[in-house]
């Protein structure tokens, strides 16, 4: 894992010097994973591919913004993909097709595993998982619905049949408690 991270860092450093071959290699190594993230949020293969394209264009154009002190290269890449995917689902006003599926927390029955039809297990960092488990169920679910699948506050509100202000409160308090837990 560390070797892979070092490799990505070396590639991205070359990208920052304008090396297009390194950029192509970076794409080869990360595109499938990043496409999975885009798909997780857009729930549409075509949209996911569009998001991936937009993200890689932004990655090249803004490559000088990345600094190692801010985090791993993959974290930076994945964040750009997620933000473009959030923008896409907001712009298209499209909602996931599994609205009627019971949101079942982050476990081996999580919706993305069903969507992507894979047997992969979901492994979050232990600290994050532990802290998420310490939240109230509604808080945890709201945070995960937003982060993992790009649900807006309004959509979460609809899902829980609760006012938007309540959802805002769940998110705010949940994230606050999560931060305290992760910092402890």
């Amino acid at each position: 894992m560390e070797h892979a991270k070092d490799h990505l860092f070396a590639l991205f450093s070359a990208c920052q010097l304008g090396d297009r071959a390194a950029f192509a290699k970076l794409y080869q190594l990360t595109a499938a994973r990043l496409n999975g993230i885009a798909y997780r949020i857009t729930n549409n293969r075509e949209s996911a591919n569009e998001v991936l394209q937009e993200a890689f264009i932004q990655i090249w154009q803004n490559k000088q913004e990345y600094q190692a002190m801010k985090g791993e290269v993959f974290t930076w890449l994945a964040s750009i993909v997620r933000y473009r995917a959030y923008d896409k689902v907001r712009a298209e006003q499209r909602r996931h097709q599994y609205d009627s599926v019971e949101f079942n927390e982050l476990d081996t029955h999580s919706p993305w595993q069903k969507l992507l039809n894979t047997e992969d297990q979901v492994h979050t960092s232990q600290a994050l998982e532990h802290c998420l488990d310490n939240l109230e169920k509604s808080q945890k679910q709201s945070i995960l619905m937003a982060y993992l699948y790009g649900y807006s506050r309004e959509e979460i509100s609809k899902h829980f049949n609760s006012p938007v202000n309540t959802i805002k409160s769940w998110l705010k308090r949940g994230l606050g408690r999560l931060q305290l837990c992760l910092n402890s």
Partner: protein, 254 residues
């Protein structure tokens, strides 16, 4: 410092904005504002990175999904790494010519046409001056240099080619002249250009004359010795130029 800016120095607000931004819960308008703010607010940028690092394990374990094979090509094209690929269905020569003929080129071509055609008409014209010049085309190469001036004369139905700039050829190569039709945009041959001649005079058949009357433009292509075997021009276009009906030009210039 304004009250608005002070607001974004407040750690509680920064933390709130950063966390909500990272989980994608902010409305689009606020998201856009945060994206601008983070570029100039170090504390906000730091907090965003912190939250991204906390949540990234979700992304690292998200299953991979195969990418559309054309995705990378499109990224390269949009970033200008490569020239755009031609569409699956080959574009017509007329449409390619339309893209090539940008406004500056049109102006330049028009100017050159006027100048060279006049010279051609007054000096080079080997025919009887009573035979009116009907159509003319100035063909330019990729460097926008005049390569050839083609003139046709209505009464004698003759084509006169004035080779302005010679093109180096291998022994196994020839240049071929083509007419691009206005009607169906197809290219039809007017024959191989004889090598080593500055002025070529060719009698046109009735069929060839009809091609000239229906011409949009002329192109010269590089072909194998003897000309294109399949009756279609190769992709090696040496020069091209709009075919202008001289009566129109005369009317336009008076």
């Amino acid at each position: 410092m304004s009250k608005q800016l002070n607001r974004y120095q407040n750690p509680t607000i920064i933390e709130h904005l950063a966390s909500q931004y990272v989980i994608g819960a902010l409305p689009a308008r606020v998201r856009a504002r945060v994206e601008r703010l983070r570029l100039q607010n170090f504390a906000l940028e730091y907090a965003i990175n912190d939250w991204q690092n906390r949540f990234v394990s979700f992304d690292e374990t998200t299953p991979e999904l195969d990418v559309d094979e054309q995705n990378w090509q499109q990224i390269e094209q949009q970033l200008g790494f490569v020239k755009p690929h031609s569409a699956t269905k080959p574009r017509s020569l007329l449409s390619q010519f339309g893209e090539w003929l940008t406004t500056p080129r049109l102006v330049l071509t028009s100017f050159m046409f006027s100048f060279v055609a006049l010279i051609s008409f007054l000096v080079v014209n080997p025919l009887n001056s009573a035979d009116p010049l009907s159509y003319v085309a100035v063909l330019e190469n990729q460097q926008d240099d005049a390569h050839l001036v083609a003139s046709t004369y209505g009464e004698s139905k003759k084509l006169v080619l004035n080779i302005v700039k010679s093109t180096p050829l291998d022994q196994e190569q020839d240049l071929e002249l083509w007419v691009i039709s206005k009607t169906d945009q197809q290219a039809r041959s007017l024959g191989v250009l004889p090598q080593g001649q500055e002025i070529v005079e060719q009698q046109l058949s009735d069929a060839q004359w009809r091609l000239i009357k229906d011409s949009h433009s002329l192109i010269v292509t590089l072909e194998e010795k003897g000309g294109a075997a399949i009756g279609e021009p190769s992709d090696d276009v040496v020069s091209r130029g709009l075919c202008v009906r001289l009566t129109d030009w005369r009317q336009a210039s008076t």
